[in-house]
Symmetry: C2
Subunit: 255 residues, 2 copies
């Protein structure tokens, strides 16, 4: 895409969130005044069921995890959200019931938008609707794959996959992470993560120390992970490409 093409559709600087930046100029202009830059802290809960957060959140730098929790206290991560998406999608349905919980995995910047504004915008049935529909469907695939993965694949593969999908969304190749947190995300005990992490370190794919991980060998880590990673990644890449190449367009007709 040429610089002039970009200029023709947006006067303001890109926010850094792909979903927002893909909106046509007029639509973005309606939202812009209500977008509040905000920084999320590590482990900050963005949509806790008890607090009834009034905002949705568009990550720029930060990375969040979406969790499902059972009444028995068990929890698992079902998806990761970075600057390609929005935190708050699963609560659109407007139900009072328990929904996904979002927690900040990598602290950083993002944009808050009051849910009311979002709802108002969606009633106009604008391109935003289409974007979110596309995004929701990619999330559906992503969560589905998470389901397969957590059921069928071993601890090492799953750790590798998790590390990659966060590394994709985090600024550098290093990010904060404790084994306890990772064990929480993938639904195993902490000692199991230690075993997997040691294995990955032994193979010189990652390095870590007290709350920090660094990806040493990306290719190697991909090889160590299950195919779930590549599959989901490919799906989001399609979205990213579509959103940057054909900004503001409606849902693409299918064959």
């Amino acid at each position: 895409m040429s610089a002039t093409a970009r200029e023709s559709r947006r006067r303001t600087a890109p926010t850094g969130n792909l979903l927002l930046d893909s909106l046509p100029r007029g639509e973005f202009a309606r939202l812009a005044p209500h977008l509040k830059p905000s920084r999320t802290a590590l482990l900050e809960e963005l949509h806790c069921r008890s607090t009834s957060d009034p905002d949705v959140f568009f990550p720029v730098n930060s990375v969040s995890s979406l969790l499902v929790h059972g009444l028995d206290g068990s929890e698992v991560e079902v998806a990761t959200v970075g600057n390609e998406g929005m935190v708050g999608l699963p609560v659109f349905i407007g139900s009072e019931a328990v929904v996904f919980e979002a927690i900040t995995q990598v602290p950083g910047e993002g944009l808050r938008l009051p849910r009311k504004i979002l709802t108002r915008e969606l009633r106009r049935r604008s391109a935003f609707n289409d974007r979110l529909t596309e995004y929701a469907e990619a999330m559906l695939l992503s969560v589905g794959q998470a389901c397969l993965c957590s059921r069928m694949h071993g601890k090492v593969e799953r750790c590798a996959r998790w590390l990659l999908s966060v590394a994709d969304r985090a600024p550098g190749s290093e990010f904060p992470l404790t084994q306890k947190f990772l064990s929480w995300m993938i639904g195993v005990r902490r000692a199991t993560v230690t075993e997997a992490a040691r294995e990955l370190q032994r193979r010189k794919l990652i390095d870590y120390r007290r709350g920090e991980v660094r990806v040493l060998d990306r290719k190697g880590l991909e090889a160590a992970s299950c195919e779930c990673y590549a599959h989901v990644r490919a799906e989001f890449d399609i979205l990213r490409r579509r959103w940057t190449e054909r900004p503001g367009s409606r849902i693409a007709p299918r064959t």
Copy 2:
């Protein structure tokens, strides 16, 4: 809802599929000529990646399962679709990539709609969009819960849950099922299902013989299943209620 209220919005008889029946009259009229009644056979694949099925499917009697499969051959069911929904939702995104596969679990009637027609309708940004958005989000929750469940819960609980969620959508309290099929769905070996099934039978919650199950004690089965069942069920009940009580309305404003 009174009979007159229903009459005012639809002249034609209800199809039996809640999603379709919730559409405003005009919208439904546009679709009606293209809806082709069709019967699905046991284990018939509705959206196989290789066949590129040109239709979406609205179950009336029948029940389908959505599967995710890995490249390694592993598969798990991530959701069930009955007359509250549509088979074909997850492929909206228009990607070329591998998507969920749908397979008929309980044979029966339904309505086929050419995907082209659906796409055309969606470009009008009608109430159908909102319905499918709501449905997609309920599915998201449903798949997320499936993820938690298959990771954290035992074979007996998961079998009970699966039986209930199919029984909810199947006409009677009896439906066709082999242990092999169930083992495939929940991602365990067949012998594991035998153990779980025996256990449920021992507790007099179900009865079965050669490819047929019957739910004997619904309440008991709910108690034997994990809370995942009730949670997902509640979510879909919200949709069912909304769709029958406020037909044709747009997305409800939230708070």
